[in-house]
């Protein structure tokens, strides 16, 4: 068995355990330094994972673990996200009463789950990696344990997450019962027979429900607003970026790689799911007064847009998902970093509390505005280009499919509605009326660097998307060819065994 395949994951586990152990022997004052050290360590791991020394292609552990271009793309994505979240936590540390080092360690453990999810080629690994992510997030969301809202978020996430996990594991059991295997390759090879089996289809539907919970798609979206509102800002950011992306990489693997024929037959279901998610997220965001809650509904709507790429059932659709997730990454991280920087100076999360921010801190105001403009999909920000790619991929698949044209119409209406609620926030920032407190807000150097990177990413990907688009295309291109190219020792062993 080729153990070098999981070297990135093993290193991430060791970093997490190292953080946990180091904390026991250092003074509480040095904990911020530990956070920077953890970020540097994950940064080194990112450099290694994207370099040529890391495993490039491979299939191991009885075919349950795959390393291909798609997996490596998402591994880099998750590692980068974890670095930003750890740095954000250092900035946020004054609001975490106890257990700062544990917060870093938990972020890294969630990262391990995401790294495994990026490579999952088996329903069992899919489930275990998702559980690792979800269980760590139960703790992360309720980390500010003397804040009632944070506890509420944790409990709601726990209960709904447990229900979703139960659905998923039941679905996996049914799939295993009918397919005699949990491996994606075996399922892919037999999908024509399996498509006629009601047990298999029911199992797949239940797994889809579990994944729908992770990405906060309708009708499994109920947890998102409360959890987004109550969780500490770094946890929310990681939830929005990492957890959602993990759900989507698994959806791409399962729907377009393992069971593409059944997905094509279920196209109508996915169309309805996508449309309902967009409408629900957009309409419910309108009356929101709380910024984090608004971001929760916006995240639901964005899950709907991302589902467009799955509905398209084409290479360009999957590429568009990867591109959109990259842009969403910078946008959401910028917004949440700005929010956690503001948290010390503005007591409330209410949108009205942002009044006067334009004068108090032009930099934070500009960051928040730019990320909202990007989320609304206005050129030249990256959100515009991502939405265009997603809509175009559906449009390409649309001829002869009236339901897809309807979906396109709904998506465009959703974008128009989103203009209204995003610009409500921007209006509050710059034209929010008089405020008693006009003291300027200072931002630390770390925050400035993080925000600067995010803004540069948003603008750069919007103006010059080609380079990144090519990376996304490579990642998707590798999805089908990798399995053919691979000759894993496990496979050889099996075939040799069967030859006897």
């Amino acid at each position: 068995m080729n153990y070098s395949l999981i070297i990135v994951e093993i290193t991430a586990v060791l970093i997490g355990l190292g953080v946990l152990m180091t904390d026991l022997w250092i003074s509480p004052a040095a904990r911020k330094g530990l956070g920077y050290a953890a970020a540097v360590a994950v940064g080194c791991l990112l450099a290694f994972a994207t370099g040529s020394l890391a495993p490039q292609h491979g299939l191991g552990f009885r075919d349950s673990f795959v390393v291909d271009d798609l997996a490596r793309f998402f591994k880099a994505f998750f590692l980068f996200g974890a670095i930003v979240v750890i740095l954000m936590t250092v900035e946020f540390s004054s609001r975490i009463a106890s257990g700062l080092s544990e917060f870093f360690a938990l972020v890294i453990f969630a990262l391990v789950g995401m790294l495994f999810a990026a490579s999952a080629n088996d329903l069992v690994l899919l489930f275990v990696s998702l559980e690792l992510i979800t269980v760590t997030f139960y703790i992360l969301t309720s980390f500010q344990r003397n804040r009632l809202a944070s506890l509420e978020a944790g409990v709601k996430y726990l209960i709904l997450g447990a229900v979703a996990s139960a659905f998923m594991v039941f679905g996996i059991a049914l799939i295993f019962g009918s397919a005699n295997s949990t491996n994606f390759r075996v399922i892919a090879a037999h999908q024509t027979e399996l498509a006629t089996s009601p047990v298999f289809l029911l199992g797949l539907l239940l797994v889809l429900a579990g994944l729908g919970f992770k990405i906060a798609a309708f009708p499994f979206q109920a947890w998102a607003p409360d959890v987004y509102q109550g969780s500490p800002a770094p946890a929310t950011a990681f939830l929005a970026v990492g957890s959602k992306a993990a759900g989507f990489v698994l959806l791409i693997r399962l729907l377009t790689q393992a069971v593409p024929q059944i997905t094509a037959e279920w196209s109508r279901l996915l169309v309805v799911m996508s449309a309902a998610t967009i409408i629900y997220g957009s309409l419910c965001a309108i009356p929101q007064r709380n910024l984090k809650r608004l971001m929760g509904y916006s995240s639901i709507a964005n899950a709907g847009y991302l589902l467009l790429g799955i509905v398209a059932m084409s290479r360009s659709g999957s590429t568009a998902i990867l591109f959109y997730l990259g842009g969403y990454f910078f946008t959401v991280l910028a917004a949440f970093t700005a929010m956690s920087a503001l948290a010390e100076h503005i007591e409330t999360d209410e949108i009205a509390g942002l009044a006067g921010l334009g004068r108090r801190s032009p930099f934070l105001a500009a960051t928040l505005t730019l990320s909202l403009v990007s989320l609304a999909g206005i050129p030249p920000m990256v959100g515009f280009f991502g939405k265009v790619l997603l809509l175009r991929s559906v449009f390409e698949s649309a001829p002869g499919r009236p339901d897809l044209y309807l979906l396109l119409g709904i998506a465009v209406i959703g974008v128009v509605i989103s203009l209204y609620y995003y610009f409500g926030v921007i209006r509050s920032i710059y034209w929010g009326g008089s405020t008693p407190n006009l003291a300027p807000i200072r931002t630390s150097l770390g925050t400035k660097v993080a925000l600067g990177t995010c803004i540069a990413g948003m603008v750069f990907l919007g103006i010059a998307p080609n380079g990144y688009l090519r990376i996304a295309e490579t990642a998707i291109g590798g999805i089908d060819s990798a399995a053919g190219r691979l000759k894993s020792p496990a496979l050889k062993k099996v075939s040799a065994h069967e030859a006897h």
Binding site: A179, A189, V199, M313, L491
Partner: protein
């Protein structure tokens, strides 16, 4: 519509083809065995819902006294708050017990099948358990240093 496809040249993927469809069919017929379970589910949920409805419909509203409204506790008078607080120590003990209990639960089947595991993949057989125990050891040191075993603190 199908655009992602695994290579079917793989020897492993072709072999189970024989009789596969029959197996799938068999599983579907097996699903019929669960019909009694479905019926039981319907009967039990129907019973629960109908008793609730009947008690509301048939019960005489308005004849309530304070004594009637107290929770039934085997004939005893209930004392204290419903949600009284417990020391966090008890939860810690429970948590640590589960942690190390699970360790043993994993180790028994591993020890029973250890010789068989050695024949297939010796590195995985020993390395898997050692890495699992290493992670648990880290947890143990963490609990020790955080004084989770110290009852008095």
């Amino acid at each position: 519509m199908v655009f992602f496809k695994y290579s079917l040249q793989d020897p492993k993927l072709h072999l189970p083809q024989a009789g596969y469809e029959a197996k799938v069919k068999k599983m579907d017929s097996q699903l019929n065995q669960y019909l009694p379970v479905l019926m039981l589910l319907l009967v039990t949920s129907g019973f629960a819902v109908s008793t609730l409805i009947i008690s509301v419909a048939a019960g005489k509203l308005g004849r309530r006294t304070k004594t009637k409204d107290i929770p039934y506790e085997c004939g005893m008078l209930p004392e204290g708050e419903g949600n009284s607080r417990m020391s966090v120590k008890f939860y810690l003990v429970a948590l640590l017990f589960v942690l190390f209990d699970i360790e043993v639960v994993f180790m028994y089947p591993w020890a029973v099948t250890y010789k068989k595991l050695l024949e297939t993949d010796a590195t995985l057989a020993l390395g898997g358990m050692l890495s699992f125990m290493f992670i648990l050891l880290v947890g143990y040191v963490y609990a020790l240093k955080k004084r989770a075993f110290d009852w008095k603190s």
